[in-house]
């Protein structure tokens, strides 16, 4: 570490540029992974808050809640317990006087069932009547307040916001929670239709009723419109970025080591063990990469603070740890490539004449 630190101190510009490069790479990877995770979260936040393990849909709905309709005749055969709850989903446009129009997902619930009971209210209260709604915090961010009367679509009449809830997003749209009756009105279906689907917090829930298909939570999430394509795109972007970063960092470290070989040859001639030089090279690479990662993380944190609330950025500790370890491994591999050169450095080359 002695040699590594002394060299960095002496060659501030050169090593500053390398740290700068690692900062930019890690910043980009952190931000991208934050956006990817944030977007994924906005697809599924509401589903996560329901605490559900299984979901039963109409088998002709192509595994989509918004396309599913369950008739009362069908739901009567399901033999539901306290572990199950009806869900009705419909896309809506919300508008209140003096507020912007917001595209949202209306989710109709039965107030006494576990999904409605588990909803966390950040301000106000849960809906008590059919004309009351509980809405995602993003409505508040857009100027909506408790007591606002909101027009849902053009024909469904007005509903009063009685509460706000946090992290209620479905397919990246804010969720409006209300009654199943309102869902029927918004979906233009009669009382013969009970709900879009049934969710259950019982992992063994698997009704054998004809015309009903049961999915696990993850299967259902993977089938959300655009969800898999979006995640695959981000995963490939981050993976390609990591590979390119590895090559760039490795090339930089290789060039650096090549430039140091004459010095290393002198030290080898003087009997300094190759292991000391290898340790110096690897510890120096680690120091540079860790410094870059720390600054990159701080920059990312500053970016999160500076970004508007609407930007879907969210961080997941295991994902962040994975990305960090990935970049660190990149540095290790980059530093290990030139080790062969150090081991083979020829002290004869510095004794001329």
């Amino acid at each position: 570490m002695f040699l590594a630190l002394r060299e960095i101190r002496h060659e501030k510009l050169r090593y500053g540029l390398i740290v700068g490069m690692v900062v930019l790479v890690s910043y980009l990877v952190f931000v991208l992974s934050g956006l990817a995770y944030g977007l994924a979260q906005q697809n599924t936040q509401a589903i996560s808050s329901w605490g559900t393990s299984k979901i039963a849909l109409n088998s002709d709905a192509n595994e989509s809640l918004s396309q599913s309709l369950l008739t009362t005749a069908t739901t009567d055969k399901l033999a539901l317990s306290d572990h199950e709850a009806y869900i009705g989903q419909a896309g809506v446009v919300a508008k209140a006087a003096g507020q912007p129009k917001l595209s949202a997902q209306f989710v109709g619930l039965q107030a006494h069932q576990f999904v409605a009971r588990n909803l966390k209210v950040t301000s106000g209260q849960r809906p008590a009547t059919a004309r009351q709604i509980l809405v995602d915090d993003s409505f508040h961010d857009n100027g909506y307040r408790l007591g606002d009367r909101v027009q849902l679509n053009a024909t469904a009449g007005k509903y009063t916001i009685v509460g706000f809830t946090h992290n209620a997003k479905l397919s990246v749209a804010p969720v409006i929670y209300g009654s199943l009756g309102t869902w029927r009105t918004l979906s233009h279906v009669t009382a013969n239709f009970k709900a879009s689907g049934v969710v259950s917090n019982d992992a063994h829930f698997a009704p054998k009723t004809a015309g009903v298909q049961t999915l696990t939570r993850q299967q259902f999430i993977n089938k959300l419109p655009g969800y898999s394509a979006q995640n695959t795109t981000f995963t490939f972007m981050i993976a390609f970025l990591m590979v390119i970063a590895m090559v760039v960092i490795a090339v930089f470290l290789y060039i650096l080591t090549m430039q140091k070989l004459p010095n290393y040859a002198v030290l080898r001639a003087q009997g300094i063990p190759a292991s000391v030089l290898v340790k110096t090279t690897i510890s120096q690479a680690m120091l540079l990469v860790v410094s870059g990662l720390v600054i990159g993380a701080l920059l990312t944190a500053a970016t999160v603070l500076a970004l508007p609330a609407g930007v879907p950025m969210s961080f997941n500790l295991p994902l962040l740890a994975g990305v960090t370890v990935g970049i660190l491994l990149t540095g290790v591999i980059g530093a290990l490539i030139p080790v062969r050169l150090i081991l083979r450095v020829d002290p004869v080359s510095v004794i001329g004449g």
Partner: protein, 223 residues
């Protein structure tokens, strides 16, 4: 016992028709307390001689012995340790690590060889003797050619080796400094019982040598 012995050492490079014999049947010994001067023009094989004597290269045939150890029987790691503990190199070019101050050049030795180096007082006296006592916080790029060479000499002496192998140690020095370095090497040999081998084409060092050898076309003769 001689500190350093080369017996029937031959060094060849290349193969078959491209084979070149750089050293041919060299017999040489250096004794503690003496300065041995190996004179020869550029390309005569004196640097190859020095690298073989220091265990950096192995001879094609023949034996190299440092005190009671035959270098041919040592692993690379053991030869590294031998160089670190018993042989000091004074190199002609790229002598110093460019990002270490003069003081740090010695600190580096302390880190890989904590025992047996010169004391702080001895180092200070040595630096003053070489006229570089005020330069300990300078980087090599801030030194003149002569100052750099004198720091390199001090660096080699710092690890207090039994044998000092010097490759053109006075190449960048004026006559006054040549005399200082020559006298220093001479005193080290006499007062500290070092075996000093200098390969050079600088005839000004003749006055400080106990033995003088001539090397020409790979063959060594006593001058």
């Amino acid at each position: 016992m001689p500190a350093l012995t080369l017996s029937h050492v031959t060094k060849q490079f290349g193969h078959a028709t491209n084979q070149v014999t750089v050293l041919e049947d060299i017999n040489f010994s250096a004794t503690a307390g003496e300065v041995s001067l190996v004179l020869g023009p550029s390309g005569s094989g004196k640097s190859t001689f020095l690298t073989i004597a220091g265990g950096i290269q192995t001879p094609t045939t023949g034996q190299v012995q440092v005190q009671d150890q035959s270098l041919g029987q040592l692993t690379t790691k053991a030869r590294d340790a031998l160089r670190l503990n018993k042989i000091g190199f004074i190199l002609q070019a790229y002598n110093l690590v460019p990002y270490l101050t003069v003081q740090d050049q010695f600190s580096l030795v302390d880190r890989v060889k904590p025992q047996g180096n010169l004391s702080a007082a001895d180092l200070s006296a040595l630096l003053d003797q070489l006229g570089i006592g005020q330069l300990t916080q300078q980087f090599p790029a801030e030194l003149s050619g002569g100052q750099t060479q004198r720091v390199a000499i001090a660096r080699a002496l710092y690890q207090n080796p039994d044998i000092i192998l010097a490759d053109e140690p006075t190449a960048a020095l004026d006559s006054a400094r040549v005399a200082v370095v020559g006298q220093l090497l001479h005193d080290l040999a006499k007062q500290h019982h070092k075996a000093i081998v200098v390969v050079t084409h600088d005839l000004r060092l003749r006055d400080f040598a106990d033995r003088i050898y001539q090397i020409m076309d790979g063959q060594m003769t006593v001058a």
